[in-house]
Symmetry: C2
Subunit: 218 residues, 2 copies
DNA sequence: TCCTGTGAATGGCTTCACAGCG
DNA sequence: CGCTGTGAAGCCATTCACAGGA
C-alpha cells in the first residue's frame, strides 16, 4: 500500500479529474444518493471504472466491497483537497461580453470563487459597476491586486492586451491565471496558467468531423 | 520510416497540438518569418523541441538540417489537415452574455467557422438579430439545423437546458458539439463533444495554488 | 556548427485480471 | 454475488541521445 497521508503524491492526471468527481458527487449528494459505485461514477464522468477506483484509492477514499463508495465521504475529501470551503479572490480583466458573462456566473461564488475586482481600459465603463463590483482602470491592475489580495486573475481581454494584463497581474502578486485570449502567455514558472481557447477547440472539432465523417463510423 | 501519406495514423496527442502549431505559424508568417526552428516553435507553443520535431515529422512536414522548417509549408499542411479553407457551419444555443460573446468573436469567420444560426428560449430575443444572425426559437433547433446543414453546435445555455439542446442538435444531424455548460452530456458515440468548463478550470487553479504556495516554490 | 531526423530508452497512465471481503 | 482493492501487464507519449546532412 502506498502513502495515503496529507503530503502524498497524486498523479497529474488524477488531479485533473478531481473537480469533475467533486461535481458529480455533489449532484449525487443533492439527489439523495448515499453510495455510488465506481461504475456509476464512470458513466457520470466519462472515465473508466478502473480509473475511478484507482483515483479514489490514490485520494485515500475507501469504498466498501459489494456496496460502493460513500457519497458524502467523496464530497468531503475532495472538497478539502480543492479547497471549496476556502474563499478565493478573483479579478477579471476585460469587461466585454465574456467578462460580463463570467461576472454574472453565479456558480462561482457558490464554489468559494469570489470576483472582487473588474478591470477595463474603456473610460465609459470605468467607475460603473457590474454585478455589484466596480470596474477599475486596467492600468491599476497591479496595484489593486496587491491591495485586495487577488489570488486568481482571469484574462478576458482581446488578444493584443492579454500579455500586458498578465504581466500586471503577476506584478500584483497573482500566481494563477485563467487565460481566454488566443495567445500563449510568457510568464515566470511559478505562475499557474490555464488556457481556455475556443478557437482551438472548434478547430479540433472540425478536424475530427472531417477525418471521421468520410469513414462512416468511428 | 513510417507511412506519411494521406490516410496516415496520427497520435491523439499530436492532433491536439495541431491547432496551436497552426496559430503560431500563422503569426510567424504574418511577422515575415520564412523559417522557424523546432526550438523556436517550442518556446511559442510551450511544448518541447523534441515533441515539435516528432510531431512535424508525423505530419509529413520536413525541415532542413541546419536551417529549420519552412513557415509557409507548415501553414499550408496544417491548414489542409484542419480544413481552414473549408467553411464550417456553426449554430449557438443560448444567447446570453456567453452566446453573444461568441457570436461577436470575429476571429471565427476568419478561420472558416461561420455562425449561421442562433437559438434561445426567450420570446423577447426571438426574432431579433445579433451580429446579423436572426435568433430562432430553441424548439426549432433540430429542424433548422437539418435545413441549414449545421455541422457544429455550441451549447451556451444554463446547465439545466444543456442536455435537451444537445439532443436537439443531434436530432438535427449535428455531429460535433462544444459544450460550455457544466454538465456531462450523454450522447451517441459518433458525436464529438468537447467541454469548456470554467468552473473546473478555476478549481484546478485553486488546487495548485493551495498545494504549491505553502511549499515556497515548485 | 546548427538543426533535423529518428531509433532506443524511459516513465507513467490505463487496462487487465483477479484476489479479497461484505 | 457485487464491487472494491491492487499487482502486473500493456500501451503510449515523451525524452534522450546521437547520427547525418546543409
Amino acid at each position: 500500500m502506498q502513502d495515503r497521508r496529507a503530503g502524498m503524491h497524486l498523479r497529474p492526471t488524477t488531479i485533473e479529474r478531481i473537480p469533475l468527481y467533486l461535481r458529480v458527487s455533489d449532484q449525487l449528494f443533492h439527489s439523495g444518493a448515499d453510495t455510488v459505485s465506481s461504475e456509476q461514477l464512470a458513466v457520470l464522468t466519462g472515465y473508466s471504472s478502473d480509473t475511478v477506483r484507482r483515483d479514489l484509492w490514490d485520494l485515500s477514499i475507501a469504498g466498501r466491497r459489494g456496496i460502493g463508495f460513500d457519497v458524502a465521504a467523496i464530497r468531503e475529501r475532495l472538497g478539502d483537497i480543492i479547497g471549496t470551503s476556502a474563499s478565493w479572490r478573483l479579478a477579471i480583466a476585460g469587461v466585454g461580453n465574456l467578462g460580463r458573462a463570467l461576472s454574472h456566473y453565479s456558480n462561482l461564488s457558490r464554489r468559494g470563487l469570489d470576483i472582487i475586482a473588474l478591470f477595463d481600459v474603456d473610460p465609459a465603463k470605468i467607475g460603473t459597476a457590474d454585478s455589484g463590483v466596480e470596474i477599475l482602470p486596467a492600468l491599476e491592475i497591479a496595484g489593486e491586486c496587491k491591495r485586495l489580495g487577488v489570488q486568481i486573475g482571469v484574462i478576458a481581454t482581446p488578444a493584443a492586451a492579454a500579455q500586458a494584463c498578465a504581466n500586471s497581474f503577476v506584478e500584483g502578486g497573482v500566481r494563477a491565471l485563467l487565460n481566454f485570449a488566443p495567445v500563449t502567455l510568457e510568464l515566470p514558472r511559478e505562475v499557474q496558467v490555464r488556457r481556455v481557447d475556443v478557437l482551438l477547440e472548434l478547430q479540433l472539432l472540425a478536424y475530427h468531423l472531417r477525418s471521421k465523417a468520410p469513414l462512416g463510423d468511428g
